[in-house]
């Protein structure tokens, strides 16, 4: 993965977790997961989806506007073989609805959805840019959201019908709140064991 410096978090049933500042254009993973809002809201930062959409010359926003992918909460769209400059083998868009911000349970559920998809397609490396850059999280919610994301991923692994196999899963970190998030990821993983 061509991302910012990666920090290992730990592993669970064959899935090794790390955190990094994910560069959506440089990530060469099997699967790049990006959250997308249902509509552009005044002043809202679209983060990863915005960067991908820009790189794909507005494809994502036009698909959404045309009703092909509405970005409703939990709606998913896989795009195989996205055009350069996207390097990931498959791009997975996850609809985050209209107001995901600050709801750890919702973020956790969507992370579980992404993990299930990754397991189903047999991805060996995943970059998950689902929430952080989409949300203006108050400091108090950074750790609960990180913990919920980790729990969502772990629950999906446990629920998977099949044997574990090696996968590298990277959560995106940014917003200047990396340390509390990393600590929360680690604590949630330790508590799960």
């Amino acid at each position: 993965m061509e991302n910012g410096q990666s920090q290992a978090i730990g592993a669970w049933r064959g899935v090794s977790f790390a955190v990094a500042r994910i560069d959506v254009l440089a990530a060469e993973d099997d699967l790049l997961v990006v959250g997308m809002l249902q509509k552009d809201m005044a002043g809202a930062h679209r983060g990863g989806a915005d960067a991908v959409d820009h790189a794909l010359h507005g494809t994502l926003s036009r698909l959404r506007e045309g009703g092909i992918f509405t970005s409703g909460f939990g709606e998913t769209l896989m795009l195989t073989r996205p055009a350069p400059p996207i390097r990931a083998a498959t791009l997975m868009l996850i609809g985050t609805g209209t107001a995901l911000g600050g709801n750890p349970e919702a973020v956790g559920n969507l992370t579980g959805l992404a993990m299930r998809a990754a397991l189903q397609i047999g991805a060996a490396s995943v970059a998950c840019l689902l929430g952080w850059s989409e949300l203006y999280l108050p400091d108090a919610l950074v750790a609960p959201c990180a913990a919920a994301m980790m729990r969502g991923a772990l629950a999906a692994i446990d629920a998977h019908d099949g044997e574990a196999y090696p996968m590298k899963w990277t959560f995106d970190i940014r917003n200047g709140a990396a340390e509390p998030a990393i600590a929360a990821f680690r604590e949630a993983l330790a508590a799960w064991r």
């Binding site: 794909l56 998913t76 769209l77 195989t80 397991l119 047999g122 060996a124 099949g162």
Partner: protein
């Protein structure tokens, strides 16, 4: 980077395999897909059909988890079959597997209820990936098709009359002949031509036919 999924490994399954109905009028294609699916433990071919009518019948009889549907078939188009299946079974999960990369057919198929659209040139693991993700409720598009869709999804659609006019033009009919065939005045046909030139960004009728055929807006 770790090993890519092109290894085609199948997650070991404890639950029942995904039952697939394969619809294509070319036996060789069906054999190829069957061979790919047979290597996977989490999916199986539940049945095959070589026409749209057979597909509708087979769907009702087999109730598969997922349909792989060709678009171009002799008796009934895949689009009509998708519409019929989804009318009878609104939750039917259908992936179009086609040679057509134009946006016209893709948009129609997705609006008819298809949840995936793949090209027959797709790699083996892309097909398997699509089957798994659509089975679990997601949508799956070849990215080149998604790009083509995005370019035109917000355009104004051609009307049925405009499609009829352009199809007749594609077969070499003059405006006068088109007017006679459709029982319209020649002026009305000219009006339709002007409107569809504008919608397609075409300079003349040949250009319009070329664009529409390439995008899958008319059948030739």
């Amino acid at each position: 980077m770790l090993t890519r999924t092109s290894s085609g490994r199948a997650p070991a399954r404890v639950t029942a395999p995904i039952r697939i109905l394969l619809v294509d009028d070319h036996m060789l294609l069906r054999e190829g897909v069957r061979a790919v699916v047979s290597t996977q433990t989490d999916m199986e071919i539940a049945g095959e059909a070589s026409s749209g009518a057979e597909a509708i019948d087979a769907y009702a009889r087999l109730l598969p988890d997922l349909v792989l549907m060709d678009l171009q078939m002799a008796d009934m188009s895949g689009l009509e079959a998708i519409t019929a299946i989804r009318t009878a079974a609104p939750d039917a999960r259908i992936i179009v597997l086609t040679t057509y990369s134009g946006d016209g057919r893709a948009i129609k198929a997705l609006r008819a209820g298809a949840m995936g659209y793949l090209l027959k040139a797709s790699l083996r693991n892309q097909l398997l990936e699509a089957i798994r993700s659509v089975y679990h409720g997601g949508k799956h598009l070849d990215a080149s098709v998604a790009t083509a869709i995005a370019l035109h999804v917000l355009d104004e659609d051609l009307t049925e009359r405009e499609v009829s006019v352009l199809t007749l033009a594609a077969w070499g009919n003059s405006n006068k002949q088109i007017a006679a065939r459709l029982e319209l005045s020649e002026e009305t046909v000219k009006g339709h031509m002007k409107a569809l030139f504008a919608k397609l960004g075409a300079n003349d009728r040949t250009h319009a036919v070329t664009i529409a055929a390439k995008r899958g807006l008319i059948e030739l």
